[in-house]
């Protein structure tokens, strides 16, 4: 299989994964802004995490920051799919930043709050998938189009 074809498959998969993450983040952001965190799918653990002080940074819900990051990943994947070389670099950059932040959030859930939120775990799984895609991506030099 050619590198171009692999790029198309991987960036398409990344775009779809980012869209799923974006939808989830928008849902969680709305929950945070409306105070519906309490419902949390009937899970007390989820409530403990999303209702905690760690669920906001400077008053902004972490989910809203996640939505921005997922949108960034989707945009970069789309542009990369159309041959924009710089988009690949930004794609990798955002994904690795999200990957690092996910570890921090997993640490907080496991060792600080002692509770896991299923939405957060789902988001972590999407980010691990995106990181896997970033690792599996063939080197950029194999593509001819450079913009």
């Amino acid at each position: 299989m050619s590198a171009t074809r692999i790029h198309i498959i991987l960036y398409s998969a990344a775009g779809v994964a980012a869209l799923v993450g974006l939808a989830e983040s928008i849902y969680l952001s709305v929950m945070a802004f409306t105070g519906e965190t309490v419902v949390c799918g009937g899970s007390a653990s989820c409530y403990e995490v999303l209702g905690s002080a760690y669920a906001r940074i400077g008053g902004v819900p972490v989910a809203a920051l996640g939505a921005l990051a997922y949108f960034g990943v989707f945009s970069c994947a789309t542009f990369a799919l159309f041959g924009y070389v710089r988009a690949r670099m930004f794609f990798a950059l955002i994904v690795w930043m999200m990957f690092a932040f996910t570890f921090w959030l997993l640490y907080v859930q496991a060792f600080v709050l002692h509770a896991f939120c299923r939405y957060c775990l789902f988001s972590a799984a999407i980010i691990f998938l995106l990181a896997g895609i970033a690792v599996a991506m063939p080197a950029a030099s194999e593509r001819k189009t450079a913009r």
């Binding site: 419902v39 949108f71 989707f74 924009y84």
Partner: protein, 217 residues
């Protein structure tokens, strides 16, 4: 056309994301709740009965945000003294396994006129009893700590009267459309969930006091 396609896709997704988020927010945002004054006099009031500002809470003793805001409310009471009175109503949520038992413990304490002592202790010790296998044993220990008659406390905690008091608050919450905790009403007007933090609450109380002093302004 192909040159513009990625821009079109990205802009379309952005619009879709913002639009769906806005629609979801409109569907889920709490209606502007106001208390009608009906539904019975509140049982648990702390502070000056004639205070110009009343902060009423629908709370769940096991809800972490309720636990976090409780000491802040107490600070407000200390700072505003006779200008502020605080009302507590029960809304134990089904998602919290010990919330109903905690509400019963608080009501059993109320039967001996120690509701607020138990209220403060339950929030202070929330992290302990909410993860305990035997929360009732801890509630009994707390009853001892605040000087309750333990025999009476053990009887009252399972009594129908205690359950009826909690159920009355839950009915009041349902009639107002309150489903989340903590939900606050400031002089009968619901406080936006985003404003449930010490700074915003303080500014809202200040605004209410200002309004009372200068009704026309």
């Amino acid at each position: 056309m192909k040159r513009y396609l990625p821009f079109i896709i990205v802009v379309a997704v952005a619009l879709l994301a913002v639009g769906s988020g806005a629609m979801l927010y409109r569907a889920k945002r709490p209606a502007t709740l106001t208390m009608s004054g009906k539904g019975g006099e509140p049982k648990h009031v702390r502070g000056n009965p004639k205070a110009s500002v009343t902060l009423e809470e629908f709370g769940d003793f096991q809800c972490p945000p309720c636990g976090r805001i409780a000491p802040e409310i107490k600070k407000l009471e200390e700072d505003y003294q006779s200008q502020l009175r605080v009302v507590f109503r029960h809304l134990p949520l089904a998602t919290h396994v010990h919330a109903q038992a905690a509400a019963c413990a608080a009501e059993a304490a109320s039967m001996q006129d120690r509701f607020w002592e138990m209220h403060d202790l339950l929030y202070k010790e929330q992290a302990v009893w909410s993860k305990s296998e035997d929360s009732r044993a801890l509630f009994q220990a707390y009853a001892g700590m605040i000087g309750l008659d333990l025999g009476r406390f053990k009887r009252d905690i399972d009594s129908e009267e205690v359950k009826a008091r909690i159920a009355a608050d839950q009915r009041q919450a349902a009639s107002l459309g309150v489903t989340n905790t903590p939900t606050f009403f400031l002089n009968n007007r619901a406080v936006d969930p985003a404003s449930i933090n010490p700074e915003k609450l303080r500014s809202l109380v200040d605004a209410e006091l200002k309004e009372k002093k200068n009704p026309s302004g």
